[in-house]
């Protein structure tokens, strides 16, 4: 009944090409980057401007229809998985670059603009946008904000949060929030970090202002190969201890090395147990000094093969293997499950060893590619969905990995978000009171609880059913929150 009313109102409020209701046309939107979860939404809306977004939200709010916002659909945690009874708000048609301000070194864009196209736009002026998630060719800046996306260069240049200076957000209650802008501070509470990474639970981002940085003048990429994963892991901490902050510091294990080399032919040593890729940048003098120092550290940790790339072409070649690690994994297994825990760097060796042992006990292969400098792991659990119980086993394995991350002082998600995928894992990270605080914050933005319901924050019920340790006097707080 409410849906019928909503459809009627949406149809009269919007031009006809903004809504998709036919089953076959909705099908492409049934999943995001976490393809194991699928659901065809009740309705897909493709607004072209902020005013249309506001109309859609107003009608959904009046008719109590849940709204799931989607950018390019590259997210890896199912945050944009549609709801059967909900509207899928797709922002990919809002893709104008509204302004580049060279005095302020900022760009103001609509949420559907892809990450890479911002850098491409300002590249002729010697500027770029620093965060570079591996999906940067396709992922949208609005999605980056929703997930607080990282990338290989966030070790030195920060996450999305550190590079966004302003947002315009529409709430389901009809407020337009103008947060930040080009200023380093604005009056009142700073809601920008709250919206960033909130996975579409608090509002819809309709405009983003990002900081542009001068392109580095000199760069070099080093590859170091190691006989043991522990040496490589310990070497990461030692590099950080030198006081040099590399632009990027990545690690891959033997399975990932072999798969990537086979896929990208980038000259990786396939007999190595682990490699480190370290990018440095700076003025010529500093860069030369840093290269010497890093080389010394690698030698201290028994590096057995060493490559250095300074020109653009050879740098690109060394990165190509790393950047194609995910598609490469897709060639050695029919399916893989990408994890995203973060741990203190000092535990890298221990955690990788334990993951390997866990893999053996589950009878599943695992390839590791990750942002070592940040301690952000991406174990790829290899499985075959056509085999009975392999999905379940890989999910259980993944859960063990995330619990391990929390145990050593880390977190269940470094950059991919909780989405639907890590709701259970999040239970181990938060107490009842913390979860209640999250829901009170959500209610401040979304009284009916219809913005991306059931994502990102696990309900207390879910956690109590899972662990038996979060039961709260048998009471179910926030009974109005839909449970899945």
């Amino acid at each position: 009944m409410t849906q019928a009313l909503a459809l009627q109102q949406l149809s009269s409020a919007l031009p006809p090409d903004r809504l998709i209701s036919k089953e076959f046309a909705k099908r492409p939107y049934e999943t995001d980057g976490l393809t194991a979860y699928r659901e065809v939404p009740w309705l897909v809306a493709l607004p072209r401007n902020t005013n249309e977004v506001r109309q859609i939200l107003r009608i959904c709010n009046e008719c109590s229809v849940p709204v799931v916002t989607r950018g390019a659909g590259t997210g890896l945690s199912g945050g944009a998985r549609p709801l059967k009874e909900g509207l899928l708000l797709v922002l990919s048609r809002m893709k104008r670059i509204l302004e580049v301000d060279f005095d302020a070194c900022t760009a103001t864009v609509e949420p559907g603009v892809t990450n890479l196209s911002i850098s491409q736009e300002v590249q002729p002026y010697g500027l770029y946008y620093a965060p570079d998630p591996s999906s940067q060719i396709a992922c949208s800046i609005g999605g980056n904000v929703a997930e607080n996306s990282g990338g290989v260069h966030c070790l030195k240049y920060g996450l999305t949060l550190h590079n966004v200076t302003g947002l315009v957000v529409q709430t389901i209650d009809g407020d337009e929030l103008v947060l930040g802008g080009k200023s380093y501070e604005s009056p009142g509470l700073d809601l920008l970090p709250l919206i960033t990474g909130s996975e579409g639970l608090l509002g819809v981002v309709t405009q983003v202002t990002v900081k542009l940085l001068p392109q580095p003048t000199n760069q070099a990429v080093l590859l170091g190969a190691f006989d043991s994963i522990e040496s490589a892991g310990n070497c990461v901490s030692a590099i950080i201890a030198t006081g040099i902050i590399p632009a990027a510091l990545e690690m891959m294990d033997s399975l990932a090395i072999k798969a990537s080399e086979e896929f990208a032919h980038c000259g990786y040593p396939i007999d190595a147990e682990a490699i480190l890729l370290c990018e440095l940048d700076g003025t010529k003098t500093t860069l030369d000094q840093d290269l010497v120092r890093i080389r010394e550290v690698l030698d201290d940790y028994d590096v057995k093969d060493f490559q250095i790339a300074t020109d653009a072409e050879s740098r690109e070649l060394l990165w190509r293997g790393r950047k194609s690690a995910f598609p490469a994994a897709g060639r050695i297994a029919t399916d893989y499950y990408c994890m995203d825990g973060t741990i203190p760097r000092k535990h890298i060796g221990y955690v990788l060893r334990t993951i390997k042992e866990l893999g053996e006990s589950y009878g599943l292969g695992v390839a590791n590619v990750f942002h070592a400098g940040d301690g952000n792991l991406h174990p790829l659990i290899l499985y075959d969905a056509s085999k009975p119980d392999e999905i379940e086993r890989s999910e259980q394995f993944g859960m063990d990995i995330l619990n391990l991350c929390v145990k050593v002082g880390g977190t269940v998600t470094g950059e991919h978000g909780i989405g639907v995928e890590k709701l259970d894992a999040a239970c181990s990270q938060f107490t009842d009171h913390e979860l209640e605080q999250f829901f009170r914050v959500k209610q401040a933005f979304d009284r009916q609880g219809i913005m991306n319901p059931g994502k990102a924050i696990p309900t207390l019920t879910r956690c109590s059913e899972l662990g038996g340790m979060h039961v709260h006097n048998g009471e179910v707080p926030f009974p109005e929150i839909p449970r899945f």
Binding site: L155, D175, L194, K284, V412, F430, Q437, A444
Partner: protein, 339 residues
């Protein structure tokens, strides 16, 4: 020797009791920012006995400290390992606690290049208005689990809760620090700022008193490539010069009866009429103003701290009031004002 004292039980208990009895508390550290925020009134709940370093592992680039710890203590500890807080917070009058730094959200001269206090804040433990101890964020660099409520505390001025402890990302001190200076007219200042912003990753501070501009650089070679020939290196201008600006120990601040803190958008400076009574940091976007003009009309959308109490009376957007209620439903922190 850093004093290690856990006063959290008393702090939590006091807030829980205030909540039950519908009382208010007023969170107080060293009170070093009172000259900017005005005097909040109420039953002071002192945090300064809640001190100590909970963990510091230089190789992890993270420090976790209790909120009553003085900034000076943290600075000295990090300096002993050749590290620093990226945002280098001000210690006005030499005082200031970690909790107060977070509550105000103020960052020092390096803010445009090293990021803000908020940017380096990795996690907190706090007490909300219900007297509940809550932990958000953590000690790792990347963490997107749950809403980022720890960073929301930066600049919240005690309206959301009391901070018990916090983890910060730390960075190595720059290997080289050299100050450059030149006589620059106010008309030419903006061109200098533009070059600094567009071309250099190697500036860490700027200060301008409307006659002379000072830049703190971490790379001499990079500085030369900026094409600002009038700027000359001055080895006699050392770190203490920048610390004095940060902490308001310079002559200009001593001679100013009252100062107003104004944060402007990137690429903008104060209008000329205001400029002559001000000094500037952050490539012109942070101005300290000591004049008497009416700022509300001249700078309507700007964050202004301490202009005849105007910041306190500014009405908050309804979402911010709802958020305060989400943390403090019964108004235990109602005597605090976000600025």
């Amino acid at each position: 020797m850093i004093r290690d004292h856990d006063d959290s039980e008393r702090l939590v208990e006091t807030i829980a009791r205030a909540n039950e009895q519908s009382n208010q508390v007023l969170i107080r550290g060293h009170g070093s920012k009172r000259f900017l925020t005005g005097d909040f009134v109420g039953n002071a709940l002192q945090t300064q006995d809640h001190t100590g370093i909970l963990s510091y592992e230089p190789e992890e680039l993270v420090v976790t400290v209790r909120s009553g710890t003085s900034l000076e203590t943290v600075r000295n500890l990090l300096a002993s390992q050749n590290q620093m807080l990226p945002f280098d917070p001000p210690s006005f009058g030499g005082a200031g606690t970690v909790g107060g730094a977070i509550a105000s959200g103020f960052s020092g001269p390096s803010r445009p290049w090293n990021g803000s206090l908020r940017d380096s804040l990795l996690g907190i433990e706090m007490v909300n208005g219900l007297g509940q101890r809550l932990k958000f964020g953590g000690q790792v660099m990347k963490n997107v689990a749950g809403f980022d409520l720890s960073r929301l505390m930066a600049g919240s001025f005690g309206t959301l809760g009391l901070i018990l402890s916090a983890s910060f990302k730390v960075i190595p001190k720059p290997r080289v620090e050299i100050s450059f200076a030149a006589d620059i007219s106010p008309e030419d200042a903006s061109a200098c700022y533009r070059k600094i912003l567009q071309l250099s990753n190697h500036v860490r501070g700027s200060y301008y008193d409307q006659k002379r501009m000072y830049l703190l650089a971490t790379d001499v070679e990079a500085m030369k490539s900026l094409d600002l020939p009038e700027f000359k290196p001055h080895s006699e201008i050392d770190r203490s010069f920048w610390n004095d600006i940060r902490d308001h120990k310079t002559e200009w601040f001593s001679n100013s009866e009252k100062v107003v803190r104004i944060v402007l958008p990137r690429g903008q400076q104060l209008p000329p009429a205001l400029r002559e009574h001000s000094v500037e940091e952050w490539h012109g976007t942070l101005a300290w103003y000591s004049g008497n003009q009416d700022l509300t009309e001249l700078l309507p959308q700007t964050k202004i701290t301490n202009f005849r109490g105007i910041s306190k009376r500014r009405s908050l957007p309804s979402i911010m009031i709802r958020l305060q209620n989400a943390f403090d439903p019964n108004g235990v922190f109602a005597n605090h004002f976000v600025i």
